[in-house]
């Protein structure tokens, strides 16, 4: 399993739980869960590329 897939799996679990506990209607839950998932993946990728260019 690649690092990206592990991160996406993690984001999916967190997004699902956050969506369910913090919104009322099913549609809102789905939207918010998707938003959290997308943010995790997008920020993860941005950080990964940012760190790639740093001479660490």
């Amino acid at each position: 399993m690649t690092h990206l897939l592990v991160m996406m799996l993690f984001a999916a679990f967190v997004g699902a739980v956050m969506g369910v506990v913090s919104r009322e209607t099913r549609q809102e839950q789905f939207r918010y869960g998707l938003k959290v998932f997308g943010e995790f993946v997008a920020i993860g990728l941005l950080l990964a590329w940012g760190l790639y260019f740093l001479p660490l």
Partner: protein
């Protein structure tokens, strides 16, 4: 300010004993707090996420943190935060703790590429179960539909 305090006190007083039991149950067995309230969908989603994250964390080679320093030179204070996060998995943590399972940091475990992922999955499984526990409490107390 005073009105808000009164409102909060009223809410606390309104929380039935049942809500505390549901909250405790949700912590002890992830998903059970919702299941006993007939919230099958929530139980499956919240409980399923916590259980799967815990299992995946263990399979990835992660380990659980205790509240006492197990190795020389490590501080119990540094262990506290991850241990509190792990403790969120409730019965899963207690079961492993009673049997002494998965608490040791074995060199072969630490050398795996997924070791830190495993730890993160285990921490977050516990933290998400705290949220699920509060959700079960709120539903039982009538604060959530």
């Amino acid at each position: 300010m005073a009105n808000r305090e009164k409102e909060e006190k009223g809410r606390e007083a309104a929380a039935p004993g049942n809500a505390w039991i549901m909250g405790a149950l949700a912590w002890l067995v992830p998903g059970a707090g919702h299941l006993f309230q007939g919230r099958w969908g929530r139980a499956l989603l919240l409980g399923g996420a916590v259980w799967l994250m815990f299992i995946i964390g263990v399979l990835f080679g992660g380990h659980l943190f205790g509240f006492t320093a197990r190795e020389a030179g490590t501080s119990p204070l540094l262990q506290a935060a991850p241990a509190i996060a792990n403790l969120g998995t409730g019965g899963l943590y207690l079961f492993c703790s009673l049997l002494g399972l998965n608490f040791a940091e074995l060199p072969e475990q630490m050398s795996r590429a997924t070791f830190e992922y495993g730890n993160t999955f285990l921490w977050v499984a516990g933290l998400l179960n705290y949220l699920a526990m509060l959700d079960a409490f709120d539903i039982a107390a009538g604060r959530k539909s």
